[in-house]
Symmetry: C2
Subunit: 261 residues, 2 copies
């Protein structure tokens, strides 16, 4: 599984304060810790409170780049902030994210092509979040068609089925599992699938248990990537055990150690 | 999920010794502990070492019946031992198990009908364990047809896709997940599906992690029942979280406590 570490995000207090104080130390630490814990890519989000999002993203990406060349997922809805982030992060970055309506696809797909970036597309459009898997599939199909038309490789496209918190929308986890399975047959080769995992447990009391249980289900449904808390050891253990059981990582007696080596 | 507790089994030393010494105390304890931990049914197996399996089963079932009226899964390959166990356990029992070849089905399906029992049928036949999900599906179809012909309700039939240890047969977990999904469309109403869970981790070092990870995957594929170690709290936590995420148990902030209450 392609693991995108979620922790460099201004919604976390330590990151917000680091951005405000222009103190790169906490950012360096979070980057290094997440990579050591198995992140293949680091999400970078200045958070909703940043006074000047463009300047904040510029500072944040530069801070991360002082300690690693790993791929970054630039996490913003603002095209100018995205563009600046991609430019500073370099090729191999991830656009996180576009919605599925045409006006957004017209902006972000060419941007992905221009910057040699991957693109996370949410199955949300001008009508909001679809009620079921069929609605999500329709948006995914539109995104895949637009990507093909504009020359973005399907394997650079990551469809996010948009999970909602289980405490407020208990039928959504099933819909998203079905969406992941359906997307695998949308095109040949199919686009990748991704999940903003922690959202499934937003506002719940037993977050870690819900996160790791749902990740296992999603991986069994064919999930390729997740934005998640790679510092949650039990979550990563569950991910690795899943890869072994799904025959995607070779079995070893201590497969946790082998995978991490 | 219908949880069948696996611990009253002569392959465990304490049970073997209790049978040999005709000491009902450890059996009473295991029955009560497993029911308190969430077992809906208790597997009863005298183990391979019993000198007189018929007498041992008679003693063991009676010992369990001294403390509970819960359904029992009589676990033996021997028809006479099965018949005696069912007779002593009473209606609502489970036959664990028959293989899928005709001569076995001819014995155990009528026995299930006669004793008002459910029947676990392994997707194994005279040719052994099938290589893939298709082979398992063929045997399942034969079992379903035989059950219909002989008047056993599909909802009293539980098909076991036969999981093998992941360290020796790493492609099997995928085949069994596919089998579980396929069985759901075999008939209307479909038969139930069941899994002898612990076998997935037989001989491995990280047994609990593999067991709970695979259980979550199987539940997401539609698994109805499992023979498992209900005394493994983390395993049962994962089962309950799965039921919540699959919208089969109602969400509550402390859903573990709510489910267990």
């Amino acid at each position: 599984m392609y693991a995108i570490g979620e922790r460099i995000n201004g919604m976390f207090k330590a990151v917000r304060e680091a951005i405000q104080a222009q103190d790169p130390e906490p950012i360096h630490d979070l980057a290094k810790q997440q990579l050591a814990a198995g992140a293949n890519c680091l999400d970078v989000n200045v958070g909703p409170a940043a006074a000047d999002p463009l300047a904040a993203m510029e500072w944040l990406v530069k801070a991360v780049r002082e300690v690693t060349d790993a791929p970054l997922a630039i996490d913003t809805t603002k095209p100018d902030v995205m563009s600046k982030g991609l430019e500073l992060a370099g090729p191999g970055s991830v656009i996180n994210s576009t919605k599925g309506q045409q006006d957004q696809l017209d902006i972000f797909i060419p941007m992905a092509v221009e910057h040699n970036a991957s693109l996370i597309a949410l199955t949300i459009d001008e009508n909001g979040i679809p009620r079921d898997a069929n609605g999500r599939g329709e948006i995914a199909l539109r995104v895949v068609a637009a990507a093909m038309e504009k020359g973005l490789d399907p394997d650079r496209l990551m469809i996010d089925g948009v999970i909602l918190p289980v405490n407020v929308a208990q039928s959504t986890p099933n819909h998203v599992l079905e969406t992941i399975r359906n997307i695998k047959v949308l095109s040949d080769p199919p686009p990748k699938t991704v999940l903003g995992l922690s959202n499934v447990s937003q506002g719940t009391q037993l977050r870690e248990l819900l996160n790791r249980t749902y990740l296992v289900m999603a991986l069994a449904a064919g999930l390729d990537a997740a934005i998640l808390d790679v510092l949650d050891t039990e979550l990563m253990d569950a991910m690795i055990a899943s890869e072994v059981l799904l025959n995607k990582a070779v079995y070893a007696d201590d497969f946790l150690k082998a995978y991490r080596a």
